[in-house]
């Protein structure tokens, strides 16, 4: 598998001037170092790789390069792994150092495989870079043809509304059952002339009226009485509030005396 992915060059520790920004974390650095072993990653020596990494970190430290914590954590872990691998085999811890080493190797292989895949993917004939589609296609058009819907009811209702809206409005005021003031003045004036004695206002009202008209007649007759009294044609007497109102014909000289 050709290496299409260009890894950052590994500077030797004594000329190490790069920052660790060149790597995306310890695994990335480990992979770069592993690839410098120039062997298939499946054959990689984890011990040798550990050596390389620890030396590299050491070199960086001597140059007082500031290292992110995760690089140091990896260094510590690799130092532990190295000693575990070198120690005589005894009661194996779980997981065994061999398994830890294998895990690391598998992770490096996977990262390498994906890195390689990414490079091959990016190198494909990409639309807009290597192959081109039409820049201004006319486009397949979907013409939405409206199928209009309306019912006969909608139609006549609309027409009714227009007519209602635009018809000149005619306002008719209902004729209410009233006795007008003029009517009352005439009637009370005519009747009071015959009444020498005090006579109750109600006696001047026409009979046989419905209740609404009777109320109106009473009110109009009272106002008529006030008007006729003002003219001196009759006199009004009431003994107290809400007491019956009495009328009698006015006497011109008596009025003048009063």
């Amino acid at each position: 598998m050709d290496d299409l992915f260009i890894a950052p060059a590994i500077p030797s520790p004594d000329t190490l001037t790069v920052s660790f920004d060149a790597w995306e974390g310890p695994l990335d650095l480990l992979l770069t170092l592993a690839r410098s072993q120039k062997v298939d990653l499946r054959e990689i020596s984890i011990l040798a790789l550990t050596e390389q990494y620890l030396q590299f970190i050491d070199g960086a430290r001597q140059l007082k390069l500031e290292l992110a914590a995760d690089y140091l954590v990896m260094a510590a872990w690799l130092a532990y792994l190295k000693s575990a691998l070198l120690l005589p085999r005894q009661e194996q811890a779980d997981p065994s150092p061999e398994e830890l080493a294998l895990r690391l190797q598998l992770r490096l292989q996977r990262l390498h495989a994906m890195r390689d895949a990414a490079a091959r993917l990016m190198a494909r004939d990409r639309v807009g870079r290597d192959v081109f589609v039409r820049r201004k296609p006319e486009g397949l058009r979907l013409v939405r043809k409206a199928k209009w819907q309306a019912s006969l009811y909608d139609l006549i209702q609309s027409y009714g509304q227009i007519r209602a809206r635009t018809q000149p409005a005619v306002h008719v005021i209902a004729v209410r059952p009233v006795m007008t003031l003029d009517e009352a003045i005439q009637r009370v004036g005519a009747l009071v002339g015959a009444a020498i004695d005090w006579t109750r206002l109600e006696a001047f009202l026409p009979t046989g009226l419905d209740s609404a008209k009777a109320k109106s007649a009473l009110a109009s007759s009272f106002v008529a009485a006030l008007e006729l009294a003002r003219q001196g044609r009759l006199e009004i007497q009431q003994d107290g509030i809400f007491q019956p109102i009495y009328l009698r014909a006015g006497v011109p000289d008596r009025g003048a005396k009063a």
């Binding site: 081109f132 397949l140 209009w148 309306a150 909608d154 139609l155 027409y159 209602a164 635009t166 018809q167």
Partner: protein, 197 residues
């Protein structure tokens, strides 16, 4: 298309394919260079594409691919979509139906509102209204009438089937909207009171 197309022809073909606008031979050369006989290649491509779904054509010295004219219909697909008429369109249609033939000014006079340009278009597109000549008055305005499709859509055998004004009144359809609303409130309550009294 016969034989192995050479690279110059392939380049011309591809350049014309991606172009945003028809290209003059000079513009084409900017892309494909001078490695071949451009005029001959354009002729060859025109021949090769003749009779296909895409044709190479020259218009005013500019070349472009276009779809064959007889295929235009497949590139536009129509789809029916049920839509409801707007209130303005409905009212306009009603006025035309009741008063036809009627001019736009007359419709506006009856509606009491201007008729937007699109409204009549929609009704004509629906196939319910047609221009029915001009009125012989100053300005000779276009007059409109309903169509046979209108009658069949609304289930009418003739315009005489439209309910008359008296029918509308009887159905309460002539009550002004706001009065009709009031009728549901105060007014009818009073009437009821009288009935009771």
């Amino acid at each position: 298309m016969n034989g192995e197309p050479d690279d110059y022809l392939r380049a011309v073909e591809a350049a014309l394919f991606v172009a945003e606008a028809p290209l003059t031979p000079a513009e084409l050369r900017l892309h494909v260079g001078d490695a071949g006989d451009l005029a001959a290649v354009l002729r060859q491509l025109t021949d090769e594409y003749a009779g296909r779904g895409i044709n190479l054509v020259e218009r005013g010295g500019r070349w472009h691919f276009q779809t064959a004219a007889d295929l235009a219909h497949i590139l536009r697909r129509e789809k029916d979509e049920a839509r409801k008429l707007s209130r303005a369109a409905m009212e306009t249609l009603a006025i035309i139906a009741y008063h036809e033939p009627v001019s736009r000014a007359e419709i506006e006079a009856i509606r009491g509102v201007q008729v937007a340009k699109g409204t009549l278009d929609v009704l004509m597109e629906a196939g319910w209204v047609r221009p029915a000549g001009r009125r012989e008055v100053p300005g000779r305005p276009l007059i409109y009438a309903t169509t046979v499709d209108f009658l069949s859509h609304f289930g009418l055998s003739s315009r005489r089937d439209l309910p008359g004004i008296d029918d509308l009144r009887a159905a309460g359809l002539l009550d002004p909207v706001d009065l009709a609303l009031e009728g549901l409130g105060g007014q009818s309550v009073l009437e009821n009171d009288d009935d009771v009294a």
